[in-house]
Amino acid sequence: MSKILIIGATSAIAQATARIMAARGDALVMVGRSEEKLKAVADDLLVRGAERVDFTAMDANETAKHEPLIGTVYEMLGGLDTVLIAHGVLPDQEACQKEFDEAEKSLQTNFMSVVSLLTPIANRFEQQKHGCIAVISSVAGDRGRQSNYVYGTAKAGVSTLLSGLRNRLSRAGVAVVDIRPGFVDTPMTAAFEKKGFLWAKPEAIAKGIIKAIDKRKDIVYLPFFWRWIMLIIRCIPERIFKKLGL
């Protein structure tokens, strides 16, 4: 049995991942914004076999609450083995271009809140000399594209943060997993036309996340083929890339 904390627990990918953890009999603490939704998710996980499920409603942007939250989680579970950070928003790129406020809000949620959460978590894990930090970043962070570079910027920040943490924490035996999904059919992407082989189901992403956590991977692209797609995209010289309508 693992002791697991999930932030953004009502997101589709987090729910699908938590179901696999529940079926294994793990103990979970779920954090999300809506108490009502957390309750629905918690009931489901308990039925599916979770050892215990606690939840607490909190907005990830309330950074002042992060440190006490982690303390509470340690008390609830009597320790902590794995943290999955899965919250995020997909901002409207055009709105972000017009108004800095919009861009700032999404950077706050997608990046700053992750830095804040990982500060006490990294310190605890470093001290206890074990643990796994898994964070859902995105292929969008691999290169800035005109269609969603504000989102991409935040995710690039997350990935760089994770790379630094991994470098710092590997000596303490702590795994830092950078999860980079491609297009996933979730409520966050409800506005998109979801057709074609590039779109994956949250259940498929969840399997990949569990595998990455179990194997203590560094960086995983989900589904796997995004690794090759992004490799190509990263290799395009900037003088050509800047002219592409991506």
């Binding site: 939704k37 629905a40 489901d44 039925v47 409800a190």
Partner: protein
């Protein structure tokens, strides 16, 4: 064109999707032709379509809410599929009380169509095993319905084709099993009379019975086929544990087959091979529950075999006293040469359903698939309709895309009573079709 079509891919509907993700959500505002819940789209015709309006896909409502391991009572959200229920319950020693021929059906859809299965003669329809559910109406009310609470709305919603509001969750009574296997017997029979004799004799002994019929056989061999029956195995040394296929996913049919693929020759060949696959008259074996209940789930998107024009299913039930009508129907189909792989015949029992518009009644039910071949097909259906009407039978809305409003209203005399419970902004292509002869407001 929306993704949310029906299994037969006929007719096609142009509709907007407004998926629901949480049971605590309210319904979206109404638009155009109103709204209709849409689960896995396994009904064949247009009961799950709402052309010119909205569909509310429910698949994201796929959470369990509670499970009583000692009593076998499961409560879950409306979009949970039967596959997900089986995957969860079978290893724990519980099975669906009633199951249709596919696991790719949501529990909401199973209630809304009041589905039946191979054990209809014993267990009745799915609706009989529903303990309660919550209905979300467009005015925001949440109404818990059960046989003893809001009874009339309960009765209208079972077989209510999604028209009475959105079922947010349902609670069902599962049945206990000792292992995941079925003791089966398969008996080859040469004629319709043999089928009736076999049915009468096996119904006392077997919980599950169904027959496959060679719908192209004529004359003396009309109605020949394989009679398949089974019981849950009682052998406690056999296991309940999960198997590979439980997660679903079969051999995919990656694209629509060309129209000429299904022709009288290929169909004849299939039927001939199927009938002769069993050499001995009777074969008894013990098989896993999946191939016994869900042989077609082994092929993903098998509806694509029927090509771009889609398929229609014709499912009727006729009362025992007029069971001869089945012979007439099979005769007309064989003469038309239009039949296809799947002709299924089953004796239905007299266990009443709580649903106002429930399809099964005591008698014999016959279901066949047809490729849509335009007017030729519709003409055959009209000629079959005449036989069903005369025999005092009826058609199954979940499979239908063709029946006339007059026929529907005479098959389902409760329809006016039912109409009182329809949510004011809910509607479907099916409902508008079968009430097309009624002036606005007079229903």
């Amino acid at each position: 064109m929306s993704d949310y079509q029906s299994w037969g891919r006929y007719p096609l509907a142009n509709q907007q999707a407004a998926p629901v993700f949480w049971t605590s959500q309210f319904l979206p505002p109404s638009e155009g032709a109103g709204m209709l819940p849409h689960g896995l789209g396994r009904s064949y015709g247009d009961v799950c379509l709402n052309d010119g309006g909205r569909v509310i896909p429910t698949r994201a409502l796929n959470r369990f809410i509670s499970f009583d391991q000692s009593m076998g009572v499961l409560r879950c959200e409306t979009g949970v599929s039967l596959l997900e229920i089986l995957r969860f319950c079978v290893p724990r020693g519980w099975f669906l009380p009633v199951t249709p021929g596919t696991r790719y059906v949501t529990i909401g859809g199973a209630v809304a169509n009041d589905v039946h299965g191979k054990n209809h003669h014993r267990a009745g329809t799915f609706g009989r095993h529903v303990r309660q559910f919550e209905l979300l109406r467009s005015d925001g009310r949440r109404i818990v319905c059960s046989p003893s609470e809001n009874e009339s709305l309960f009765a209208a919603t079972i077989a209510g084709m999604g028209l009475t509001g959105l079922i947010t969750w349902a609670e069902i009574q599962m049945i206990p099993i000792k292992n995941r296997y079925i003791d089966t017997r398969s008996i080859k029979f040469g004629s319709l009379d043999d089928f009736f004799a076999l049915s009468a004799e096996s119904e006392k002994e077997f919980d599950y019975t169904v027959s496959w019929i060679d719908c192209l056989a004529r004359g003396k061999s009309l109605g020949r086929g394989l009679f398949m029956c089974g019981n849950h195995s009682e052998d406690t040394s056999r296991g309940l544990a999960e198997k590979k296929g439980d997660a679903g996913g079969g051999i995919p049919v990656p694209f629509e087959f060309p129209g000429f693929f299904l022709n009288s020759l290929t169909v004849k060949l299939f039927n001939l091979l199927y009938y002769h696959r069993q050499i001995r008259k009777t074969v008894s074996t013990t098989v896993d529950y999946t191939p016994f209940f869900y042989p077609l789930d082994a092929v993903d998107c098998w509806n694509r075999i029927y090509g771009k024009r889609g398929l229609l299913q014709y499912q009727c039930v006729v009362p025992h006293e007029n069971a001869e009508a089945i012979r007439e129907i099979l005769g007309r189909i064989a003469a038309s040469g239009q039949g296809s792989f799947l002709a299924v015949l089953k004796v239905t029992g007299d266990v009443p359903s709580p649903g106002l518009l429930s399809f099964p009644k005591p008698g014999v039910t016959l279901a066949l698939d047809f490729p849509v071949k335009g007017e030729r097909t519709f003409e055959l259906f009209r000629s079959l309709d005449a036989v069903v009407r005369q025999a005092g039978g009826r058609l199954y809305p979940a499979k239908d895309a063709c029946m006339s409003s007059e026929d529907f209203q005479s098959y389902y005399p409760n329809w006016r009573e039912f109409a009182k419970f329809i949510d004011p902004v809910f509607s479907s292509s099916f409902w508008r079709r079968v009430t097309a002869n009624v002036k606005e407001g007079s229903a």
